[in-house]
Assembly symmetry: C2
Homo-oligomer: 234 residues x 2
């Protein structure tokens, strides 16, 4: 198991209220009384690059909130290949399908050192039953998941591959929480856009030569205007 250390295990009435990103996450609207309803521990976990946060074979007992870092949702196909259906960041919720009692639909894998909160489904159900303040955030998270999925489908799988790569880079640029923009491995770019590793590499290299991006390891500075022109024209 790749599960990293539990940084802090606690039971709601202590640390959640002082969480420095609480306004961004599922518990944004909760008050003291609501936190007092929480019985099971909500664990704060750290993952390194490449570690699995959950996989499709896990019992769907938890929902995960990303505190920092980046996470890819990897959907495995019957023929053995795989696709990345989304990249999640700070404030995003993963594994919401557990709320419906169904198995996780994808594997969730950290792309960077990532910190997450692991919330038991039972606690969410209790809160949702006994307090009205969670349901608005739940609706909003569901909606974000659907909307992100639809946008990925519509934007990232349309047009020639140069346009698609530009579109993905803009997505990453607009959703970064650090100074530089994270650039996935060429294989992962391929798995997002349904192109081969080689094609992804050629296009990233060409963008670099054109000065539209400035790659350094797995991050880059990005010329948004130039990429936007490609996305619109092509």
């Amino acid at each position: 198991m790749n599960r990293s250390s539990v940084v802090e295990a606690w039971t709601g009435n202590s640390k959640c209220q002082h969480c420095n990103i609480r306004k961004l996450v599922l518990f944004a609207d909760l008050n003291q009384q609501d936190f007092d309803l929480i019985h099971q521990p909500i664990d704060d976990l750290d993952f390194d690059c490449g570690e699995k946060i959950y996989q499709t074979t896990d019992s769907p007992l938890f929902v995960y909130t990303i505190r920092s870092g980046l996470v890819k949702l990897v959907h495995e196909l019957a023929n053995g290949s795989y696709r990345i259906v989304r990249i999640l960041r700070q404030g995003d919720v993963a594994g919401m399908e557990a709320l419906n009692g169904t198995a996780y639909l994808q594997n969730a894998v950290a792309l960077q050192p990532t910190s997450i909160c692991r919330i038991p489904v039972a606690e969410i159900e209790r809160l949702n039953r006994e307090s009205p303040r969670l349901s608005k955030q739940l609706t909003s998270r569901w909606q974000k998941a659907v909307s992100d999925a639809d946008t990925w489908l519509a934007e990232l799988t349309t047009g020639v591959s140069k346009r698609r790569v530009a579109s993905l880079l803009l997505y990453l640029e607009n959703n970064k929480d650090t100074e530089n923009c994270y650039i996935p491995s060429r294989e992962d770019i391929g798995a997002v856009l349904s192109i081969t590793t080689e094609t992804a590499s050629r296009i990233i290299a060409e963008f670099g030569r054109s000065g539209w991006i400035n790659v350094d390891g797995n991050s880059a500075r990005v010329d948004k205007a130039a990429l936007e022109k490609i996305v619109l024209s092509d």
Copy 2:
């Protein structure tokens, strides 16, 4: 406006409980008391082929349940092109983003003569507040929307176009509610799979010549085994 006739306008405590597909829809778990909470009319509307059920510029005041027929969700892109992000059928819910107070993300267009229930968001919010029995169905509908979106992304945009067309046909075959399988126009197939109308046409014609499908107008009989072989092998 293309809005068709209101077949029946009613206020919850009359017809919904006797709806012959109620077990399939959002109100599956509601009881008499719950229906008594409904104040605004829930309209039963009919649409012909090509008619718009809602569009992105409409005020997001309603959620729609499909009673029969087929509906495409059409996502318009900045460069003027469009993509079909999903095809919905009996029991599916469209426009759930209205529950979050955000604009509709796509246009919804009938592909066949289609019958839908138009439910005011205010009524869903009231029920969700005053009765616990709706929330399970809502969670389940949200989850289906996300899961469908992810599956479309992963399955229908992977591999060569022959594989993608086969995959779409299998999806339509497995989700049909009539004897024959609905075959979209070649342009719509293209908008689902991100291929050109011509490529879609060539592949459908070839499948027909190979005897894997038997097209008659906009429906077909489908050789599932043959198409599954293509999806897996290619």
